[in-house]
């Protein structure tokens, strides 16, 4: 029992260290990404945060109509593009081209953005 616990604790510490290292590299420019999936995960979760943040901003302003949707798509794609190519300076071909990076987690992020936008817009401006 104690052996199992100590193993899980060790794994927990390893996981935390690994997560810390990934966050550290994600925030440092021109980091090395030997594991491609780690970088794609950073893009994925970054996108989710961005989607929710943009949804909150659009809801507070409030932005209306297809311009809101269009601006989200443009800003979302542009930030990921500049983050990957300029900030991290990665070779996009290693990840299957810029299209693969641009669409990583896009649908989920879009759904999160819409939920936030709709909830705030309805709650703040229609209640």
């Amino acid at each position: 029992m104690s052996k199992t616990k100590s193993t899980s604790e060790r794994n927990g510490i390893n996981k935390e260290q690994c997560l810390g290292s990934v966050i550290n590299r994600a925030l440092t420019c021109n980091s090395q990404w030997p594991d491609k999936d780690e970088f794609l995960d950073v893009i994925y979760w970054g996108r989710q945060v961005l989607g929710v943040a943009l949804g909150l901003v659009w809801g507070f302003i409030p932005l209306k109509g297809f311009i809101g949707l269009f601006l989200f798509c443009v800003i979302n794609a542009a930030i990921v593009y500049f983050y990957a190519s300029s900030f991290q300076g990665i070779d996009e071909e290693e990840f299957g081209g810029m299209w693969e990076l641009t669409k990583e987690g896009f649908v989920t992020s879009f759904a999160g953005f819409l939920v936030m936008w709709i909830i705030l817009y309805s709650g703040l401006h229609y209640d």
Binding site: P62, K64, G65, G68, G96, V115, I119, Y121, G123
Partner: protein, 186 residues
Amino acid sequence: MWADTLFIVFISICTALFGEGLTWLLVYRTEKYQKLKAEVERQCKRLEKKKEAHGDSIDRQQKRKIEREEERLKNSNRDLSLVKMKSMFAIGFAFTALLSMFNSIFDGRVVAKLPFIPISWLQGLSHRNLMGDDYTDCSFIFLYILCTMSIRQNIQKLLGFAPSRAANKHSTNLFGPQPQQLSGYK
């Protein structure tokens, strides 16, 4: 509207957790699934490595070997889908019952206001069972689907139940092989 929208978000978090819990109980924890998943991941990595190593200068023998590997991977993927099928049916029944219950609770109720007018083929969903012609009125089902799209995928990823990217790339969907797979045959 706050109460309705937040309640729908809560419902979709609960149903996503329930769905994943049920799938874990019926599929993820079984030895057969874990074995097959590991097998698919291993085969995917081997195939990727082979394709990368040979690149464009591929002779007929190598091509045949890669095709054989792809065939094996396809079979493993099919077996994996069959194992998952059991839980998909269980979840399908449970969710149909839950959805019809929530549909009757929110029947004819505007749960939110959309900040945009959805395109015509989405209006059937966003304006389902609602009176009037104001297409910015949002029905329960539309918000629930959006919440589920965002929450379920993230929960799967957080819990580590989402299929790996390599496996996703090689799995076939209802509409046939994905473009990346087709490019492998060139």
